[in-house]
Symmetry: C2
Subunit: 361 residues, 2 copies
């Protein structure tokens, strides 16, 4: 699928937002990448076009039967102006895993990554520079065929949009309050929790909304079968530091295999800090706190990178973690990952992909 | 919310499809109902407009986080030309239940039903007449706000589209082969299985696709926790006739409370046929067959009404039900429900709502 990418120029460029008040996911750049699928031509018509609304049929299947998947990654501008991506091949791979589970035709991972590089080059002036900022890249695919029978769609659209963004939670290293959810569940083995599909997020909003009304920033999800084992927090994976050892729920078919999660594990191993992927119950976590051994808790995800947890509430009991201060390992991981992403630290893992010498046609 | 419904006329009407080859969900009528929601105005701007594509933002939240719900009901033309709906207030109520679970603002059920009546009157020539045909009515709501943070959208669109349809499965009273799914799951308690949201259908396609490749028409879903108890079949509820008694899975928080399911139960009670809502395991079903007591199996849903099951495969074992013939109760229920819907039988329950005297403005 080595197709040329057409470039449709827009008449007038947008005014760029104030880099100090970007927030997350509010602004979109001038251009997006677009590609369509139908049965006759497969994925075809790749092009970089102005970011603008497009036409959808009322009967388009995505509105009814929800075949919609996405990825999230970021482009960074380093101190010397180099543009780089962080482990983008992981996102391409996971996009295809999501396609597979949702019966969406596979994309050519190398071609899509090439398209993303070209799009980022075109939009390089949209990459903000500075602590915590980046150009968020959102590839997504959804069904477009107008049909009301329940079956996989025969037509899809893939778009990649770009959003210059500040830190996801504002001042993201201030520890947050987390509510351990017992009524609602996010995902179950045999379902779609291990892939990035729109329905997972829709299903999570009710519990999140109730938690926020009660003063919590995020939900910690437990497993659906026994309501006992820790799964993930909000839209991040979670880590616990217990008596010097880092523990995170093992990938079990209902947890999202996060790119930041994997990076955290690799960094800890590189530092010779003990880390273990295992099945971990919420009882164990509270028991560790009881023994004075729960030293740190933090979420890990692309949007927020590392998000320390200062307080956990489960079953009517609240525990305060590390005196609501940022833990040593949390801070070290945040500094290391953002340092590698922004090019201020060496990248011993080959995680960053520099973009240069690529020109959009 | 007693607002006037604006009527935007189209220049030219479409050619209507051949009533003998309608299929299901392939054709759409000339007009649709549309209403928008934002925080300032609530649900506003109700109008009947030409069915045609509309503009969506690439960052519209439905493509990313999947807040999308729907309903399905039908309008029928009786022998004397009367137009009627079947228990539409149940669909309006369930639409709001779906709204609640998916954090979508509630709609005024009475107003939406009024709007649907007006739309159906405008489109009365699109209601096919004849065995198994009807005008399928699809109300649906989806999030439209352009924003990439995970939270409920602040903007939504509600549309009602109409599709003249034949029988869902073609010759729908020919018994089908069903595969009892053991790997994939549809829904779990605490999730969204009890409401009609797009993500449920997306999640179900993989298993359905595999089943079809192996010659099965539908999936029978088991519970997610123990992989043991019967939940529902494809997009229908399921009934078993065992030794003269009808048994159906009780509403447990992960099963959809079907309107046809409820109608079947009421009809059986009216006829003094024993019927029980209970937790029923797949083992019990196969054991009943072993004893020669499994007399009938059928699905019940709006699209297909009653869909007899002729063969069930579970864990490598296949059983044939009622010699692959339509069962007596299945046929009686189908005749009674479609008879009431089409006005050829008396309606002792007050299920039908005649539409008359309503004029679109």
């Amino acid at each position: 699928m080595k197709q040329d990418i057409q470039f449709v120029r827009r008449d007038e460029l947008k005014t760029k937002p104030d880099p100090n008040s970007l927030g997350f996911g509010k602004y979109y750049s001038d251009y997006m990448f677009s590609m369509d699928y139908n049965v006759e031509n497969g994925w075809h018509d790749p092009k970089i076009v102005p970011y603008e609304p497009f036409m959808m049929e009322p009967a388009a299947m995505v509105f009814h039967y929800g075949q919609a998947i996405f990825e999230g990654l970021k482009a960074y501008k380093t101190g010397d102006g180099t543009i780089q991506l962080f482990r983008p091949e992981k996102n391409m791979k996971r996009l295809n895993d999501s396609c597979d589970r949702l019966c969406i035709p596979q994309i050519d991972e190398g071609f899509l990554l090439e398209a993303i590089k070209q799009l980022v080059i075109v939009e390089k002036d949209w990459i903000p520079q500075g602590e915590g900022t980046s150009l968020y890249i959102r590839p997504f695919i959804f069904s477009t065929e107008p049909y009301l029978g329940v079956r996989p769609s025969h037509q899809y659209k893939l778009l990649v949009i770009l959003s210059p963004s500040g830190a996801y939670y504002g001042d993201q290293l201030s520890p947050v309050k987390i509510y351990v959810e017992e009524q609602y569940v996010r995902a179950v083995l045999g379902g779609v929790g291990h892939v990035k599909t729109a329905g997972n997020y829709a299903a999570s909003m009710k519990a999140q909304e109730i938690a926020e009304e009660n003063g919590y920033a995020q939900i910690l999800w437990l497993d659906a079968k026994e309501n006992k084992y820790v799964e993930e927090v909000g839209s991040m994976n979670i880590f616990f530091k217990i008596n010097g050892e880092l523990v995170t729920p093992q990938l079990n078919g209902s947890i999202l295999p996060g790119v930041t999660r994997d990076s955290v594990i690799q960094l800890l191993q590189y530092w010779n800090v003990p880390v273990r992927e295992t099945r971990v119950s919420i009882e164990e976590i509270f028991a560790a706190h009881e023994r004075g051994e729960l030293e740190e808790v933090f979420g890990a995800g692309t949007a927020a990178v590392i998000s320390p947890v200062g307080e956990l509430t489960w079953n009517g009991h609240s525990i305060v973690i590390n005196d609501k201060q940022i833990g040593e390992v949390s801070q070290r991981l945040y500094d290391a990952i953002t340092g590698i992403q922004l090019g201020s630290l060496e990248d011993p893992f080959g995680w960053t992909l520099k973009i240069d010498g690529v020109k959009a046609k």
